[in-house]
């Protein structure tokens, strides 16, 4: 089974590397959205420092959503998805591998860029680290929950907007806990509880999401 | 009895806008829901009759 996982991850990364533009588009979108907020609320440093975690987290949510349709659409279009449904390897495992590959080219890149963007908001060290760690724990959950939405809306008209409507309400707990962790540290309190909760969400999502995505894929593709 | 008169009841101690604004909208929405359902059923039946007539079953 691990050969299957390795192959699927490698294949998805290879395909992503041939379409760098798609990967970068979502990333540039992330950067632009984060930059829009200061333009909207004014450059006052205290205000920006306050809204920074929330803004970066919301932008991470939106950027994650932009890239979700890519997860299954290409495979669905060229028939690979059907092969995956028919394969001997458990569909849940294949799906988990696809989610990991997707996170590597979306969520991970967001985690790497976020600290740089946070500097734009004059966020200082303990907060930077907290923000990055919260994103590191949270973006995989976003990919997993998003995969459920992507599988359900496979091939539907109005795909992107519909996907957002389905997935954003489910993202709310991750957003609250993730952005809240930075606020806790900013207030001088520890964020351990938040990290534990994020880790718990990660574990629960990892347990539940592959099964749900597999079920949704079977429903959508058959 | 809480109210000395009908006008007291309607005035709701000065909060008439909020109380009747709530209950009025709720009543309107519930009535609308029922009306829409009745129209939906009528629409289906009309469509079924039309397709039956087209197929010459009538």
């Amino acid at each position: 089974m691990f050969t299957v996982l390795r192959c699927v991850i490698y294949r998805d990364l290879l395909l992503a590397s041939r379409r760098w533009a798609d990967v970068l588009t979502a990333l540039v979108f992330f950067v632009i959205v984060v930059s829009l907020f200061p333009l909207g609320v004014g450059p006052e440093p205290n205000l920006l420092r306050t809204i920074a975690p929330g803004v970066i987290w919301v932008a991470a949510l939106l950027a994650s959503m932009l890239s979700l349709t890519r997860m299954f659409a290409a495979d669905y279009a060229d028939g690979t998805l059907e092969q995956m449904l028919l394969s001997a390897a458990p569909l849940g495992a294949i799906v988990a591998a696809k989610i990991v590959a997707h996170w590597l080219v979306t969520g991970l890149l967001v985690v790497l860029i976020a600290p740089v963007l946070a500097l734009q908001f004059d966020l200082h060290q303990p907060l930077l680290g907290t923000l990055t760690l919260s994103l590191l724990l949270g973006t995989p959950v976003l990919s997993m929950i998003g995969a459920i939405g992507a599988a359900l809306t496979l091939g539907l008209r109005g795909g992107g907007a519909l996907l957002s409507l389905l997935v954003l309400p489910l993202y709310v707990p991750v957003l609250i806990i993730g952005a809240g962790s930075v606020d806790m540290v900013a207030a001088g309190l520890g964020a351990e509880a938040h990290f534990l909760l994020l880790a718990a969400l990660l574990v629960v999502a990892a347990a539940f999401a592959p099964w749900a995505v597999a079920a949704a894929l079977r429903i959508s593709a058959e | 009895m809480n109210w000395a008169s009908w006008s007291d009841f309607l005035a709701m101690g000065g909060y008439a806008l909020y109380v009747w604004g709530s209950y009025g909208v709720v009543l309107g929405l519930l009535v609308m829901e029922i009306v829409l359902l009745i129209l939906r059923k009528r629409g289906i039946l009309r469509e079924l009759m039309r397709s039956a007539a087209r197929r010459g079953l009538q």
Binding site: L170, P173 | G13, G14, Y18, G21, V26, R40, A52
Partner: protein
């Protein structure tokens, strides 16, 4: 195979027919007339309970010392909020049955419940807003409960939008079911995280719960209104599922006979 008829599915052949009288009604064809007979009874019950509840709320329950007459909105706000969550759970239950047993009627029932649930959620939000304005001074307060209701409304919209976007009714049923199940697991998580967020960011919890001591009559009024809304939602869902059955089964013989019999 687009049209599911009693002749070409095992569920349609109703393996339980003849074994148990209740499973006889798991076929849309047999449930249709039953729903038609039951709906008026629930409607009457709803009207009577609503009359009793509103009487309790307006004429028996005393005026609140802190909020004056504005608090009387509670008799529609709280029942609507409770029912909006209850209906989501029931909807998810039927969706789960649809996914597990692959029956048509359970999927139709889930679809029938959604609009009423969404309506109650909106009513909770609307009445909550109108309650908040005189009590807390703002049309919208990020109270944990109201915010959770808002997210619940989005979950309902998502469910209805997903089903609306899928043409094949069986795929729509099952996709909606997966979404509803994902949502129902999330609802407690959403509620607790919003509650946490609310208490962290606002010192004193701005809560739309009424005064700490609730008179027994107030509580009774709320409970009766909850029952009234429950009866209403059953009546309306039965009516709606009848329309859904007619739409989905439009190619079957019994629907054609029913339609010609109606005119």
């Amino acid at each position: 195979m687009m049209y599911v008829t009693p002749e070409n599915t095992t569920a349609g052949r109703d393996r339980f027919v003849g074994h148990s009288s209740w499973f006889r009604y798991s076929s849309p064809q047999t449930f249709f007339p039953l729903a038609g007979k039951l709906a008026p009874w629930f409607a009457v019950a709803a009207l009577l309970l609503a009359a009793a509840g509103l009487y309790l709320g307006f004429f028996v329950a005393p005026t609140d010392s802190q909020q004056g007459e504005a608090y009387r909105i509670i008799f529609i706000h709280v029942p609507a909020a409770w029912m909006s969550m209850f209906i989501y759970v029931v909807m998810t239950f039927w969706a789960g049955i649809c996914l597990t047993f692959n029956t048509r009627l359970s999927g139709m029932m889930a679809s029938a419940l959604a609009p009423t649930g969404a309506l109650f959620t909106f009513i909770a939000l609307w009445s909550g807003s109108l309650w908040g304005k005189p009590t807390w001074g703002a049309w919208w307060v990020w109270d944990a409960r109201l915010t959770s209701e808002l997210i619940l409304l989005f979950l309902y919209f998502g469910f209805m939008a997903l089903q609306g976007a899928i043409d094949d009714p069986r795929r729509a049923d099952k996709a909606g079911a997966v979404l509803a199940l994902t949502g129902v697991i999330n609802i407690p998580i959403i509620y607790f995280s919003v509650q946490w967020w609310n208490t962290l960011h606002q010192g004193a919890s701005v809560s739309l719960k009424s005064a700490p001591t609730m008179a027994a009559t107030m509580f009774a009024g709320i409970i009766v209104m909850v029952l009234a809304l429950w009866m209403y939602s059953i009546a309306v869902s039965l009516m709606r599922v009848r329309s859904i059955i007619l739409e989905r089964e439009r190619d079957s013989q019994w629907v054609a006979e029913y339609a010609s019999g109606q005119t």
